[in-house]
Symmetry: none
């Protein structure tokens, strides 16, 4: 881990530690107090706090104080992959690990995760089921460097992002793409659908608070059982952007 040269980063790391060690809703020291504790000026403190507020890890209330955000929840949901998609019928999710290993990233995955093709990654392939029936085939990649101590159990566990957080990785943002495809032979047999059946290909690249690529996920969802539903609100907000809120039902990814 690189030594924080920039004060702002030092402050941010300090705050991240506070966030980790405090329950959601707990207040953190006042800005002027932090100034003294960390020997930096208030604007520097404010800048760091602001970043974490934007990430949803802290919340500020004028006149009251700054608090560890509900983000607990956020986190969980995030762990929900922040899939903007929700199961057509929200049943009970479970998953079966098909394969797991610590292997070199390879060209394709390495490029996406911004690591050398020779760099080790944690890899896991899972079959995800809803009410016991196959729904999706998921391939997950996490650079070994990002979470050296990550165990298979961590990756199998329900709330994966929660585990990552315990390893000091604070997931902050993800870019996801979705495109239609059809299943190939092996996917068909694993998912229990005919070859060439319609499916959705999800790709997600997740970034942490430090801007590192921490996760690359490639998943195939059955088209006959999975549908993306989103509610589009055509309202104000910054000109030219549309806020969409997709409620995701209970699934832990």
């Amino acid at each position: 881990m690189a030594e924080a040269i920039l004060k702002r980063e030092r402050v941010r790391d300090y705050l991240l530690e506070l966030i980790e060690t405090h329950p959601a809703g707990a207040p953190i020291p006042a800005e002027r107090v932090l100034c003294q504790q960390l020997s930096v000026s208030r604007p520097t403190i404010r800048s760091a706090v602001e970043e974490l507020v934007n990430l949803g890890l802290l919340s500020r209330q004028h006149g009251r104080g700054t608090f560890v955000a509900r983000a607990k929840i956020t986190q969980e949901m995030v762990s929900d992959t922040g899939s903007m998609s929700l199961p057509q019928a929200s049943g009970t999710w479970s998953s079966r690990v098909l394969e797991h290993a610590r292997i070199p990233a390879g060209a394709r995955v390495g490029r996406r995760l911004h690591v050398s093709p020779a760099a080790d990654i944690h890899y896991i392939a899972r079959l995800r089921l809803v009410d016991g029936e196959p729904m999706a085939l998921e391939h997950l990649h996490v650079p070994a460097l990002v979470a050296p101590g990550l165990t298979l159990h961590d990756m199998e566990s329900g709330d994966f992002y929660e585990r990552l957080r315990e390893h000091g990785v604070h997931v902050s943002e993800a870019v996801q793409s979705i495109e239609p495809t059809v299943v190939n032979d092996s996917e068909a047999s694993l998912l229990g659908v005919p070859v060439l059946a319609p499916a959705l290909l999800f790709e997600r690249l997740t970034t942490d608070a430090q801007g590192r690529q921490v996760e690359y996920v490639h998943s195939i969802y059955r088209g006959d059982r999975y549908r993306i539903v989103s509610r589009l609100t055509l309202g104000a907000s910054p000109r030219n952007t549309v806020d969409m809120q997709a409620r995701v039902s209970g699934d832990p990814f």
Copy 2:
């Protein structure tokens, strides 16, 4: 327009104007210059710029300057219905009307629009093209009752929601679903892809400010040229929701 009391907001608005009136990639005045022009301090400028950088409207390069970001197109997009999907390559959209009529809703459409199957609706089928090449096949339905005076020209026009507004219909919300499918014979020939090629089926039901169903759209998008990209920000906000901001380039839906 509300008077900007806060300098920071005044600066932001000024910058937004610069962004609108300058092509992507164009440099904006240096921070120190903006200070003088707007009579504010540099931190204030920087704060405003930072906000717009985070929104993807500006991009900064150390030692070079600050520039209008590629994403500038963001603007036109809202009229874009807030489709959360954006073309993989943002080209020039156009459309060709294949069919139009005022016909009874029928059972399927009537149910979705909450009108009697015998009630008249405006119907239009369009082929939507990007850079002259077919991208999607769209079927649009609007209850005649909702907008009695709607003309074919209105439905052909680029900014359809704008026309609706002129008819007193204020679109407020939409529920959209997306699922993978494959194209059938007629779709294949219209879109210029092989039969059974992967595609996305969009269905959108739009509601106006009075809670009336005002539009039902059914579209087939080519899977080889269309991809949904979304940026998931894992921040606070209500439990279990994901805010997505999708910048959509130019297309009017």
